[in-house]
């Protein structure tokens, strides 16, 4: 095997690890920022690492059936696979770049797959809170997928491509970023992104005061650790995807981290100062203005 293959294999190993580290660190930073807004000092930034290590080191993990094993595994598979098909950096041999024609559509499916796996796993626990949480999560997904798909379709029509790499290639130079080229699609997508990140006002799935912790109610110890790992990787994957599509991608790691972090702050800061919608209110929200913006984006492109 030549060196490029080795580099590629190394990339397959490094990318998820980086995603995990960055995702978890972001989580820690978010906790600190939230704490500062809330007038307090907050935990150390490394706090989320200790949480996850502690969860992995739990001695017992009760499960209620085979599907509960598979739920978190589905979730983590889906997040890692999604990550593999999102170009992390532009034109880098080490960082994965498995882009192919149609990968946007593939990702649309892949990103749902994890949630469905989780739903199956949570369904088996028999906890009514999980069942309600799953129902809410799926309903919410139906809500935000509509503007998200509309936005992506608009972009795909506009640039006549279904590949992220080609989209990234289109946006060289600050003024060519898609956020400026197709602002309506961006607005629709970023509003959908708020729902995707499950921060308030769209945190119905995990609402503690209503349904304990939703789908994860019966997941403890290692299962929860797997879910948190998967969640961190998935967060990073989503951030990179949005950066790639709308913010012109990144040529080096520093740019990537700056861009993704700024993007991450949008749902986080919204979440800090907002209460949560009820499920039907959230869906109504998504089907109102975000959808309208998505349709406008398509109309502008088509006409």
């Amino acid at each position: 095997m030549d060196s490029s293959t080795w580099i590629k294999i190394l990339g397959y190993i490094i990318t998820p690890i980086t995603a995990f580290v960055v995702g978890v660190t972001y989580g820690g930073i978010v906790r600190v920022i939230t704490a500062r807004v809330q007038n307090r000092f907050g935990p150390p930034i490394t706090q989320n690492f200790w949480d996850i290590i502690k969860l992995y080191s739990k001695k017992t993990a009760v499960h209620h059936g085979l599907m509960q094993h598979w739920g978190p595994i589905f979730a983590i598979t889906a997040s890692v696979t999604s990550l593999f098909f999102i170009p992390v950096l532009k034109d880098s041999p080490l960082w994965l770049n498995n882009s192919f024609n149609g990968d946007i559509i593939f990702l649309l499916y892949m990103m749902v797959f994890g949630s469905l796996g989780m739903a199956l796993g949570a369904g088996q626990t028999g906890n009514p809170n999980s069942a309600i949480g799953v129902a809410r999560g799926l309903a919410l997904m139906v809500g935000y997928e509509v503007p998200f798909v509309l936005a992506l379709v608009a972009i795909m029509i506009q640039f006549k491509t279904t590949s992220i790499a080609e989209l990234m290639a289109v946006q060289d130079g600050f003024s060519n970023w898609l956020i400026f080229q197709s602002p309506f699609a961006f607005i629709a997508a970023i509003l959908a992104f708020l729902g995707m990140m499950h921060y308030a006002p769209f945190d119905v799935t995990f609402a503690p005061a209503e349904i304990a912790s939703g789908p994860a109610s019966e997941f403890g110890g290692k299962y929860l650790a797997l879910m948190q790992t998967s969640g961190s990787i998935f967060t990073f994957a989503k951030l990179v995807l949005f950066t790639d599509i709308f913010l012109g991608g990144a040529g080096d790691l520093v740019t990537l981290i700056v861009k993704t972090f700024l993007l991450y702050m949008i749902p986080v800061l919204t979440g800090i100062v907002n209460p949560r919608y009820r499920t039907e209110q959230a869906i109504t929200f998504f089907w109102k203005w975000p959808t309208v913006f998505g349709i406008i984006a398509i109309l502008i492109v088509v006409l």
Binding site: T34, V37, Q38, N39, P128, A209, A212, N274, Y277
Partner: protein, 367 residues
Amino acid sequence: MREKETTIYLGPQHPGITGNMMVKLKVTGDTIVRAETHVGYLHRAFEKLMEARTWLQCFPIVCRICVPEPDPNEENLSRVIEEIEGREVPERAKYIRVLVLELSRLATYLLWMGGQSGSMGLYTMPQWTVGDRDYILDLFEQLTGGRVYHMYIWPGGVRRDLPEGFGDKVLKVMDYLEKRLKDYDDLLFNNALFYKRAKGVGVIDKNKAQEWGVVGAPLRGCGIKHDVRIDEPYEVYDKLNFIVPTYEGGDVWARAMVRRQEFEQSISIVRQVIENMPGGDFYNKIPNPLNWRVPPGDAYVKTESARGEFGYYAVSDGSLKPRRVHARGPAYVHGVSLLERILQGANIADVSFIMNSLGTCPPEIER
């Protein structure tokens, strides 16, 4: 789709439940068909214990009846003893009592604001308000020595005089709270999302409110103007200027706005009390507490606590110990029968929301 009826147990271990109680819900989809409250997890048999203690020994017990706001309980027990005995209270003590009661009302409202917003996922608000509540608890600590339980109001007056410079400290805290109220407005009361969540949720029928035993802010949220402080003025409330706000609608939103207005009124009452504080004695001496026989008789007194009318019925048979002390908290009606009634047809997402807006406080239900 055919909707199946499922049973959901909310509590006793559930982050959305205020305290330790359980609500058993029969739901189809997201809608509650029937709600059943189960209480008794906090039963400590206080009323039984009080029958075995002397009158003064009852004070550490009554303040534990309602944990978030212990002072109305002390006030009630003091007043009920004073009424049976016919004991006079000096003017200064009355003012100090009003000060303590209003401070405790402010503290409770701050806690309620946190609970109300925490139950709908606005976690910044509880961090702010519970933190600010500590300024009031610090005042209590200086005044009474206790953060949560004070045992400060006694029959015949209060236990201690105000420390030096206490008035200025109180005014400073009041200024701070008034400043913070603007932040609370921005974050919670003027938040469009809060309005959307709260409007039309947990509606109490105005025509039925009195018959159902609704009191306090929920009653005033129905547009009915009743407040024990005005209906049956105790201490010096008839000498103070304050308005009793009412809102129409009877929903969570109206109750929240009533409480928000009362928060301002309480600040103003505290200021008036500090301003008009008379000199003189703060305490009428009672006999040796171990040999203190309250003459036979019975009385019912009530106080407007932050959650509504708080009544005490006490009977003395002339012995050293009370024959019976019965506490009637607002949550006894709000948290059990009223909650069951207005949860019917509500969304599961709103259970904890409605519970908070009614001021459900389980320790006071089962005592």
